[in-house]
Symmetry: C2
Subunit: 342 residues, 2 copies
Amino acid sequence: MPASPLQRTNLKKLAQELNLSISTVSRALNDSYEIAADTKERVKQKAQELGYEPNPYASGLRSRKSKTIGLVIPEVANNFFSLAIDGVEEIARANDYHVLIYLTHESHEREATIIQHLAGGRVDGILMSVASESPDASHLATLVESNVPLVFFDRVGEGIATARVTTDDYASGYRATEHLVEQGCRRVAYLLISDTLSIGQKRMEGYRAALQAHGLPADAALIVPGTLDRDQNTRRIRELLEQDPAIDGIFASVETLAISSYEACQQLGRRVPEEVKIISFSNLATAAYLNPPLTTIRQPAYEMGKKAAEILFRAISRNRPVLPTQSAELQSTLVVRRSTGG
Amino acid sequence: MPASPLQRTNLKKLAQELNLSISTVSRALNDSYEIAADTKERVKQKAQELGYEPNPYASGLRSRKSKTIGLVIPEVANNFFSLAIDGVEEIARANDYHVLIYLTHESHEREATIIQHLAGGRVDGILMSVASESPDASHLATLVESNVPLVFFDRVGEGIATARVTTDDYASGYRATEHLVEQGCRRVAYLLISDTLSIGQKRMEGYRAALQAHGLPADAALIVPGTLDRDQNTRRIRELLEQDPAIDGIFASVETLAISSYEACQQLGRRVPEEVKIISFSNLATAAYLNPPLTTIRQPAYEMGKKAAEILFRAISRNRPVLPTQSAELQSTLVVRRSTGG
DNA sequence: TTTATTTACGGAAACGTTTTCGAAAAAAAC
DNA sequence: GTTTTTTTCGAAAACGTTTCCGTAAATAAA
């Protein structure tokens, strides 16, 4: 028995049915001015009827437009990135674009191979937040060479001339530290993600400046880099608190380190906020229901995703490179809760 | 000045450089048995040297393989789906596949148009968790007609003959309810996501069965459907608790409803767990640090994503349809914490 | 040595679009 | 009534792969 070929309707079939040429049908569907209004109508009608869906690979090949952007982020199990994805997807949908998602898991190697693939023309543009393990941005140079528009958000690659959507990290770091000091802290530890990430550096600069402004010493021993392993982070923080019992404030530059701090304090029996006050960069939806409720610096993650996507699409639609001057800096907000309370 | 054409290296250019034909170069790169070992080596060497990256749209068009799967989920700002994405991405990468992500935001209409597009051949297969607003699965029929492999995970579409990766929802619903009853609850409310979702139904069946088994009445007034708006959910729960003060247990079938329950109890000054005990399906990483720590039914989200992807890739690689018999049911685990404590 | 088979490659068609070029018919200008 | 312009469409060439088919040389079988 001859299995029905199940021929997906394409332009050829559509043209035959309509007694028109392929080119006419194509133009009609693309609303070309060269096609008579009634013909357009007839074509669209038939296309609808036969459930025609253009082959994205054929049109991508011919038109050199993939209608797709790449979203490269370290992880997804993180409220900041989840919200950012939401914003990106929103704008992508509005522009009739598709979103390819890639997770680096903070690995430089993964990031490099992903970028390598994306430079091959699979996407019309890229949004990314660089991996903490990436020592520099040299692996992103091929993108620039390939003319693939790129916009950074939150975690930027230094030395790449393109737009970046960030938050006021220095100011936020300053404000967070100052808040701890104002609440009575005299010895504040700073937990950072990675040495190489610029946002960690900027937040730390704010931290240092705030300490200095309030006449407190900036002790290098108070600065603890985190790892990818939560248990290990908890252990490090615990050791820190044990070795330096005078520590009465913790400034976590990233969400997971705040959780580890809670764990460490719980294990050591240190009361929060009475003995140790904790503040963290975080977009946790449940921050208000933690025990105690966590004071956070909340980044406008959703808006950052939207903004970054908007900048990218402006470049794509105008067929222009993304310029550093199009960068945007959004403001984080300090949400005071009991973890830094009196 | 003549701007350098910046010709991306393709097979043609590669063939010219090597004094070989296009077909030979293509076959060499694809490790065809027809090509001599030393030629392969020479070709690959040159490809590496010129940074050749095959055009995905050309090869997708010709080979009818997109090397891409579609992931269709309701939202991403949800720990369950975040973890599932992680699992999916892991397997996709292992199979050298790309992942297109689509968010339905629980909208049936969005879901339908997404599916419509995906049926056009953009992806080799689809993983999805259906939107709560989808009344039935009729919009998924086109996929089956188009022969696009589909695997459901967690939220399934009834009536579609394909594999599904779920958890033991009935048993979990039963266990959760029984746990509340054993902890002394006599009047347990059930908060569900949506009327149409099968998982909500199954969990509710377990809930009903457990009540009956323990000689408790199943009052329809105890069953409250949620909405997409968190504040509205909180209000409804608050009204429920006010109108029926005898309620001493809440079973939330989804994470956000647990948060709303916390909010409602806090607003009403009801103590958890003394006056009201709360249990919830949830994958919150911070469940243990909530106030009070939340007793959860934790689904193996990461594993579900992995499993669903594995089933899909088996079908794709063997070029066979996905069969319902390949479905898998994983087990959720009850994690008892203080929100249901004595 | 002659014939059959295998090895290693090239030519060209095909995938389904978009787009360039051309051209007939209709409308407008003269 | 002729010429010019506009309107509307068709033929065919791309886009960069994969793959079918053919074929020369090299090897094996006779």
